[in-house]
């Protein structure tokens, strides 16, 4: 595999690091194309990130040279596939600083990981009258599985509120923790607002109350260094496709002790040690939770994506994206028609906004004509939209390959939107 070149620490006088970003952009074939005759400005990274050729090539190479099933063949190809598959498990473990490979379970994505915990841990531990606590800024995927669980068990879903900046009200959260709270499900970073939650405090308060904590890291691991042991959370989930990897693959991290105590999520091949019609003995961790042939190519691609992120350097990514966030924020703040939603002190590179008198969908269509891809809608966070009293927002979410020039293009296109509707 070719090694990605890192963002050079030297910055240009204007505070950007454009020349190094230009080299990174070379790794992403899709960024070269024209959309409606204009250069693609891809600002929809919170929905999914683009893939560097290192990831694409790893998948092509798997299918061209190594394709085989894992964990069962005695032949060389199967051995190679298994080695690549398990090597990725180890890179994931190092990437999020977990203690043991057995704590890393491959799933389809963050959504499936949450559903796994709700179905397996939740069904085994949540009882009638218990409470599951979420926050007001959760993605639907960290609300609905808990609602389903609560409905099934006669448990209660409670919601910790946020303030008008989109910051969690920590005292309110602490007040909602009680003897019946058995699980806290909280996002590390809000997908709609970019808010970074104070996880250390959240986890510590929950543990003091005897609740386990699941963290939705789908919008976090691509932006910042994550250490699940330092956070001390019990479960941590993320998706491959939001960290420059393929779609259809994701990760559940679970504390070994908890995973051991949980019943399997799905039954089938690979998750068993032995099967008779009378009795099945389940496989050891993590295979107990990986029934059926997994997305092997997806896992290989995820491994390449993590290698790519680490070769660029997660700290450099954080600082580049923070620079873009501040630059983009100041541009949008300079336009009186624009209202930014989500102004938390700690934020990732997400700019959620509305344009006065103009529906986000119309904004999105006009920006698209300018080659600019943003997300418009409720971002699978309808309660967040309700909180701010809007049906939808426009969202520009920035990644390691975005530039200040692209934010200037966004601003110019927004002026065009305002002109069309004036």
């Amino acid at each position: 595999m070719k090694t990605a070149r890192g963002i050079d620490a030297r910055e240009s006088p204007d505070g950007g690091s454009s020349c190094d970003v230009q080299r990174i952009r070379e790794d992403f074939p899709i960024l070269k194309q024209l959309i409606h005759g204009k250069p693609l400005v891809y600002l929809d990274n919170a929905a999914t990130t683009q893939k560097p050729r290192q990831v694409i090539e790893s998948i092509v190479s798997f299918y061209s040279e190594e394709c085989s099933n894992v964990h069962r063949g005695v032949h060389l190809l199967s051995e190679r596939a298994t080695r690549g598959f398990e090597a990725t498990r180890s890179s994931v473990r190092r990437f999020i600083h977990a203690r043991d490979d057995r704590e890393i379970v491959f799933v389809r994505g963050a959504t499936e990981a949450i559903n796994l915990v709700a179905c397996s841990y939740g069904r085994a531990h949540v009882r009638a009258g218990d409470e599951v606590l979420v926050t007001a800024m959760e993605h639907h995927s960290n609300i609905v599985p808990w609602q389903m669980l609560c409905a099934e068990k006669g448990a209660k879903l409670r919601v910790a509120p946020m303030n008008s900046k989109g910051e969690l009200l920590l005292e309110e959260y602490e007040r909602l923790l009680g003897p019946r709270t058995c699980l806290v499900a909280v996002t590390h970073v809000s997908n709609a607002l970019g808010t970074v939650n104070p996880l250390h405090e959240i986890v510590e308060m929950a543990h003091r109350n005897g609740a386990v904590v699941l963290v939705d890291g789908a919008q976090a691991v691509q932006h910042m260094r994550v250490d699940v042991q330092a956070l001390d959370c019990d479960f941590y989930v993320f998706s491959g496709h939001k960290i420059y990897g393929p779609t259809g693959i994701g990760v559940l991290y679970g504390r070994e002790r908890l995973l051991e105590s949980m019943p399997p999520y799905q039954g089938g091949g690979d998750m068993i040690a032995s099967v008779t019609f009378e009795k099945t003995v389940y496989n050891k961790l993590p295979y107990k939770f990986e029934a059926g042939t997994p997305d092997i190519a997806g896992v290989i691609g995820l491994g390449a994506a993590i290698d790519y992120l680490q070769s660029v350097g997660i700290e450099k990514i954080t600082s580049h994206e923070q620079d873009l966030l501040h630059y983009g924020t100041s541009i949008l703040e300079g336009m009186p028609e624009i209202r930014i939603l989500g102004t938390a002190a700690a934020k990732t590179s997400v700019l959620s906004f509305t344009v006065q008198g103009i529906h986000p969908h119309d904004v999105g269509t006009i920006l698209d004509q300018e080659g600019i891809a943003i997300r418009t809608g409720h971002h699978c966070a309808q309660p967040v939209m309700d909180f701010f009293g809007v049906p939808a927002t426009a969202r520009a979410s920035l990644a390691l390959y975005n530039t200040r020039d692209e934010l200037d293009a966004l601003a110019a296109a927004l002026r065009k939107v305002i002109e069309v509707f004036s």
Partner: protein
């Protein structure tokens, strides 16, 4: 910009800024709710039908320029139409925005400005929300119509 003007024609922007019949109808005898879960657009449509003829029509809700203008212009074109003619108008409008061969803008009057939508397939649902809600109201359906 010329492409954009094809979609956001002046008449559409005018109806978006000043939607017609944008009010609740106190004496409505048919009504329906429409919802587009993709973008959160909502419409509540009111009809007063006497002897099979649309006597009055009004709507409330929030949505993008395309959905608001479509609803506004729909209400204008419905007044005085029989239920059968309203159904027929639905079909014609649907054919037009879907870019179907048999589309006949002639019978649509001002509504023909929506022909530009052919180039914007993801926005077709914005324009048809009000119309699907109309069909539900005509059929006396109490369920909220969803475009998804």
């Amino acid at each position: 910009m010329s492409d954009l003007r094809e979609l956001y024609q002046e008449v559409i922007l005018d109806h978006q800024r000043r939607p017609r019949n944008f009010h609740r109808l106190e004496d409505a005898n048919r009504q329906a709710e429409g919802f587009n879960p993709l973008c959160g657009d909502r419409i509540h449509l009111y009809l007063r039908i006497e002897d099979g003829v649309v006597k009055d029509v009004g709507f409330e809700g929030s949505g993008c320029a395309i959905s608001t203008a479509s609803a506004s212009m729909m209400t204008e074109s419905l007044k005085g139409k029989t239920e059968a003619q309203a159904e027929e108008l639905f079909e014609k409008f649907h054919d037009l925005v879907m870019g179907r061969q048999q589309a006949d803008p002639a019978g649509l009057g001002k509504l023909a400005v929506f022909s530009g939508l052919r180039e914007y397939p993801v926005r077709v649902k914005c324009a048809t929300l009000a119309w699907h809600t109309l069909r539900a109201a005509l059929q006396g359906s109490l369920e909220t119509v969803a475009t998804e």
